[in-house]
């Protein structure tokens, strides 16, 4: 199984994500944002957290126009699995690979702490290792995590069982308590909490490990 992690200037969770991918069994390479193609034969692409391009203009806006973004969109369009975490989620909405947008936290402050989440669906390669309704704890670290979308989009996300994670106690004002969503084909996940920062007991939590293990199990060639 092959994975890549895209690295933008200002990414800071890229190595953490690569560690989590490798621990789950993915042969993982880093791909610089100036690349116009992704390596051949990838099963999974990670868009990491951080402050790509210094969050100038809007979080993720400039990354969404970088050379590698077109290749990322093409990979998602042909059914590739993509996970975007934190700034990666913001980038996936800015590229319109995922619907909606992430606004500044309703309370204005940057929030960095553990949060309780409910896994809302086990029907994806990302969440198949959890039970629907299972409560887990992951860290968040963001200033723009207030998910918003028009009412039709929110209704569609609910109706199509595409809300992957909800906050138990929403810290940032997110619509419908949304912490993570899936694409229509369920192969792209965007989420604000950081599973890669809770993928090993040595990190203070391992509730994120099942996400990577699930991906490795479900994407493994039969």
């Amino acid at each position: 199984m092959k994975a890549a992690v895209i690295v933008f200037p200002g990414s800071n969770c890229d190595r953490d994500l690569a560690v989590a991918f490798r621990a789950a069994g993915f042969e993982t390479q880093m791909v610089w944002h100036k690349e116009t193609d992704l390596p051949a034969g990838l099963d999974l692409v990670g868009v990491p957290g951080g402050f790509s391009y210094g969050d100038y203009l809007r979080c993720g806006a400039i990354a969404a126009q970088s050379p590698v973004a077109a290749a990322l969109r093409a990979f998602a369009d042909r059914g590739g699995h993509v996970i975007g975490i934190c700034n990666g989620f913001q980038i996936l909405t800015e590229t319109r690979i995922l619907p909606g947008a992430l606004l500044q936290n309703a309370g204005i402050k940057y929030i960095c702490r553990q949060v309780g989440l409910r896994v809302e669906t086990a029907d994806s390669a990302f969440t198949g290792g959890y039970a629907a309704g299972q409560e887990i704890t992951l860290p968040i670290a963001h200033h723009e995590g207030n998910y918003t979308a028009d009412p039709e989009t929110l209704a569609r996300l609910r109706g199509e069982d595409r809300i992957a994670f909800r906050y138990l106690d929403t810290p940032n004002g997110a619509a419908d308590d949304i912490a993570g969503i899936l694409s229509e084909n369920r192969r792209v996940l965007g989420m604000m909490p950081h599973p890669e920062r809770a993928a090993d007991p040595a990190l203070g939590g391992s509730d994120g490990a099942a996400l990577f293990a699930s991906l490795a199990g479900l994407l493994a060639p039969a």
Partner: protein, 76 residues
Amino acid sequence: MRATVTVMLKDGVLDPKGEAVRHALGSMGFDGVEGVRQGKVIELDLADGTTEAQVVEMCEKLLANTVIESYRVQMG
């Protein structure tokens, strides 16, 4: 030539920074400030002949996120 692009959060989209400014104005004694919306102004220095349609395309593709923001273009 110059174009000025004003980007604002759409009506109905929460603007916590604007709300904080409104609150501060009220506590300073400026009564009657019923709402504050904070946006951004982007000034573009453009080669002669650049059209408004091109600036609109810049807004659609990068300068504004039309999911949450509206924009206004003023040429010249």
